[in-house]
């Protein structure tokens, strides 16, 4: 695998085309940077590059204009080689105002390119960004290439024929900038033009103004090319496996995976949700998929969201709920009821920085303890974690499968990064997944007696829909008698039922754990789970290219762990567990496998950088 010197800006590789480029668009949260990034991503995907993105935006919807905490950024890494992360450091930083420059400058590679809108570098904005002097003029940006010009004025000029006021005209600034970026990387403008026309189909003058701005930005690149640091860069497409591709975010993928999972189970889906960042996008996506047998219910709170989903499962649909850390905490008691009543349920947790409200829009993996242990009583539930936006699709199907095949709630972990990030996704053939069609009990299962808690060879009890003649019975949160499900507080029964619930989850069949990169044994195994997949894979690959004896394995099944986990980890001299928390999976591994797993942790709300991981690997191998 090709490696790239981390400190050399991609655009400076004279004469040769770079194999990857990292661009960060940064501006005020009202500047439309997420939209710009999203459309640039689409054009990049259509150009055939591999890519990864990282949207990074403030928790406030309309933070005060021009302030440091109101900066919204979108980073994309794209290339002619396999791309695993959104990139450690940008080669190009587009800064729409002084605050955006200040917040993002540290990340920019030395020698990288800054594109700045001088029209926004006013005294007022410089003050808000806490600049004493104008960085565009005081020489403080000497170690970077600087391209500063008045994008605001150029945009107003470009749209002057459309009769918009200054304020409205300036809204097209992001499209002007996107036009320039499209020129820089030689991208087709047409898909963006089509998108603008459809987005503003009821306001054709706004569509036209945006298209004019886009074209003007593009034309600016063409004419300004001769002088200065701006030049066109070609990034070749990555030859990919043949097939149909699209870009997908984790939130989209989880929604589609749930729809697919419900279909494979042969069930209508009921989704109970409550608005929370960054999980709401799942509710939004599913609310538009009613024709696929999906009922969405925006409940009055997180508790009602899960309780309604359990109610729907009880009535014979596939109940699903989703939230983020604080909301998951509220759902804990109801999860216990789903464990006790042994009803299928999928709980999606899009993790964010915690504790409490924490960092709503930043990513973290700190809900693993909550997922595995976070309920009263002995209440085991299977936990699955997704490693990328595309991987969530399969994980969601897997969660549905386990939920109905074992009559249990299942927790699916994603995180803010996966939920918002986009990647190219090879569209799967739905027929390639084995169905797991549900059969409800329709007659008495023990001679002329009904035993709602009679278990099959997997320890699973039957699913009985209310409305079925002759199978009336009562269930609830009080300890159930083996077989009958009637109330039973007796010591032997509680022991037996606790054991049965535990054995059922422990016995869930999950595939054996494989090594993702490297060898089956050796000096160091880097163990990951969740959205750290990209950076770990890249870092391990880079280290291996330098001759280091290091391998990577990435866990999808957190609980129960694959049966061969202990044996796999013990084949390595050392085990390193990078996580965006204080070492939670490390604890589970130590506890379950009795291996000396060492933590490498980060809780800054930002994904791991490849360079950080490489350093940690080198340190571990010393």
């Amino acid at each position: 695998m090709a490696t790239q010197a981390a400190d050399k800006p991609a655009l400076k590789t004279e004469g040769t085309a770079p194999d990857a480029v990292v661009v960060r668009f940064a501006g005020d949260s009202g500047d439309g940077m997420q939209l710009t990034g999203g459309q640039f991503t689409l054009s990049t995907a259509l150009a055939g590059n591999d890519l990864a993105t990282f949207p990074d935006f403030p928790a406030e919807i309309r933070a005060p204009q021009g302030t440091l905490f109101g900066v919204s950024a979108f980073q994309i890494n794209f290339g002619s080689r396999e791309i695993n992360t959104a990139g450690d450091a940008p080669d190009v930083l587009v800064a729409m105002n002084p605050a955006a420059l200040k917040v993002n400058l540290d990340a920019l590679k030395p020698g990288g390119l800054i594109i700045a809108d001088t029209g926004e570098f006013t005294k007022r904005n410089l003050d808000k960004a806490k600049y004493d002097s104008n960085p565009l003029e005081d020489g403080s940006l000497a170690k970077w290439d600087l391209l500063a010009f008045d994008i605001s004025a150029l945009t107003i000029e470009a749209v002057k024929d459309f009769g918009l006021g200054n304020k409205d005209a300036l809204r097209s600034k992001n499209m002007w900038t996107l036009g320039l970026a499209l020129w820089m990387f030689d991208r087709d403008r047409q898909p963006i033009i089509d998108w603008l026309k459809s987005k503003f189909r009821n306001k054709p003058e706004i569509a036209d103004a945006n298209i004019a701005a886009l074209n003007a930005g593009h034309a600016y690149g063409e004419t300004a090319e001769l002088s200065g640091p701006l030049r066109q860069v070609q990034v070749a497409p990555l030859p990919a496996e043949p097939g149909l591709y699209r870009t997908i975010t984790g939130a989209e993928a989880v929604s589609l995976g749930l729809v697919a999972g419900a279909q494979l189970a042969g069930l209508p889906m009921f989704f109970g949700g409550y608005p929370i960042t960054p999980a709401s996008a799942i509710l939004h996506h599913l609310a538009r998929l009613k024709e696929f047998g999906v009922t969405t219910f925006q409940a009055e709170d997180e508790i009602a969201a899960i309780c309604s989903a359990i109610g729907a499962s009880y009535a014979g649909q596939l109940g699903v709920t989703s939230s983020s850390g604080p909301g998951i905490a509220l759902k804990g008691e109801a999860m216990g009821l789903a464990v006790m009543t042994e009803l299928p349920l999928v709980i999606v947790n899009s993790q964010r920085g915690g504790p409490s409200t924490g960092l709503p829009t930043k990513t973290e993996q700190s809900d693993l303890y909550q997922a595995v242990y976070g309920r009263n009583g002995d209440a085991p539930i299977p936990v699955i974690s997704a490693s990328s936006p595309g991987d969530v699709f399969e994980c969601a199907i897997e969660a549905c499968r386990i939920a109905v095949e074992y009559m249990t709630p299942v927790m699916l972990l994603t995180d803010g990064y996966i939920a918002n990030a986009a990647e190219p996704w090879k569209v799967p053939d739905p027929d390639s997944f084995a169905p797991f069609k549900v059969e409800f009990l329709t007659e008495k299962n023990n001679g002329d007696q009904l035993l709602p808690y009679k278990r099959d060879e997997n320890g699973k009890r039957p699913w009985i829909k209310p409305g079925t003649p002759g199978l009336m019975h009562r269930i609830g949160g009080i300890e159930k008698q083996e077989g009958t499900g009637n109330i039973d507080y007796s010591p032997e029964n509680h022991q037996a039922m606790t054991d049965a619930r535990k054995d059922k989850i422990d016995g869930i069949s999950v595939p054996d754990q494989q090594v993702t990169v490297g060898n089956d044994s050796g000096k160091l195994l880097v163990v990951g789970w969740g959205s750290t997949f990209g950076p770990i894979r890249r870092a391990v690959s880079n280290c291996r290219a330098r001759g280091l004896d290091v391998s990577h394995t990435h866990f999808r099944h957190i609980w129960p762990l694959p049966a061969n986990s202990g044996e796999l980890l013990r084949r390595f001299d050392k085990v390193l567990v990078p996580e965006m928390n204080t070492g939670q999976f490390k604890t589970v591994l130590r506890d379950q496998l009795l291996v000396d797993a060492q933590p490498y942790t980060k809780t800054s709300g930002q994904p791991f950088k490849i360079a950080e991981l490489e350093a940690a690997i080198e340190e571990a191998l010393k």
Partner: protein, 341 residues
């Protein structure tokens, strides 16, 4: 109410083999019997009937009814029931809750199930105390209630369940009490109402709050203290035998009721108000009527159906699905895609 084929059953068919575990003499026994007596009269089908409860003495109810039953978690029964009704609107759902379960920990959910108007019967057993946790005061306990958690007497103001229900947007509000012979009629009216039907049932907790409703529920003098409401009938109370009949008259100028004597049965002459169960303003006045100067209004206070939540959800779903492609393969490939050869 569901328009389903009526099934013939007897009271016995609705009894389970489970030992009933309420304290001997608890008002819950009478309510259980009233429900078991009512269900056959409704032609209800045990297989299609579902009792859903929260936590508390009242919430043990589903274990004792031979139908589908779900004993859930504290306060959240309305949310479970909403999910059940959205998944299968044809099920006949009865919700059982109490004053602590429904108005304290579950107040939020009760409000929303009423405002959404999910079709079910909601029985709130009001005993003005926490029974199962051994007698703490509840959100309906009167001021100065002495309990283990308020040894010097409670100082907070109680809530009024029927006023709460109306405020939340309920389209059916009724009252009854455990040993009342009229309770089955109230239950039948609730069942006939399409939408969320709220019934406050005063229930005697003989262990922790004994006879707290005797002021109006005790047989002696009951005629003077109970105002049984019937739609289209005058609001009369008092002793039929002695002929001491009284009625409620609307003092329109001051927007309040007054008690008037009815002479020789001529209630019209006395200006007694006729009950109109579809009049929401009247319902608000009735549920706020201070007991003492006035009798306790019982029976169907308000009954004015509106479209149910689940029917609206189903209709919207059908509309949104009409003519739509349901190919999963197409859905997965949606949006701007490209092909690699």
């Amino acid at each position: 109410m569901n328009e389903l084929t009526k099934v013939e059953t007897t009271l016995k068919d609705w009894e389970t083999d489970q030992e009933v575990r309420w304290c001997p003499g608890c008002g819950d026994y009478a309510i259980l019997k009233a429900v078991q007596r009512t269900l056959p009269q409704l032609g209800a089908d045990p297989a299609n009937t579902c009792f859903i409860s929260g936590i508390g003495c009242s919430s043990r109810f589903p274990y004792y009814i031979e139908s589908y039953g779900f004993h859930t978690i504290h306060g959240r029964a309305p949310a479970f029931a909403t999910g059940v009704k959205l998944a299968n609107p044809d099920l006949d759902v009865w919700l059982v809750t109490g004053d602590g379960d429904g108005l304290s920990i579950g107040g939020n959910h009760l409000m929303h199930v009423l405002r959404r108007n999910v079709n079910m019967q909601i029985m709130l057993f009001n005993n003005e105390i926490y029974g199962l946790t051994k007698g703490q005061y509840s959100p309906t306990s009167r001021e100065n209630t002495r309990s283990p958690s308020t040894p010097l007497g409670s100082v907070d103001h109680p809530t009024n369940p029927c006023a709460f229900a109306l405020g939340a947007g309920a389209r059916f509000v009724a009252r009854g009490f455990d040993v009342s012979k009229n309770l089955p009629d109230v239950l039948k009216a609730a069942h006939a109402h399409k939408g969320a039907a709220f019934i406050e049932i005063f229930q005697n907790c003989i262990v922790y709050n004994k006879d707290v409703f005797d002021d109006f529920a005790a047989p002696k003098g009951a005629e003077d203290r109970q105002l049984w409401l019937t739609h289209g009938e005058p609001m009369l109370f008092g002793n039929q035998k002695t002929g001491e009949i009284k009625g409620l008259k609307l003092d329109a100028a001051n927007f309040r009721f007054e008690v008037v004597d009815v002479v020789d049965g001529d209630w019209q002459a006395a200006g007694v108000q006729v009950h109109d169960a579809t009049n929401r303003m009247l319902a608000h006045m009735l549920v706020e009527l201070p007991f003492g100067p006035f009798p306790m209004p019982l029976g169907v206070i308000y009954d004015d159906p509106a479209p149910t939540y689940e029917s609206a959800v189903m209709a919207e779903k059908a509309r949104a699905s009409e003519g739509k492609d349901t190919s999963l393969a197409k859905l997965l490939a949606k949006g701007q895609s490209w092909t690699v050869e």
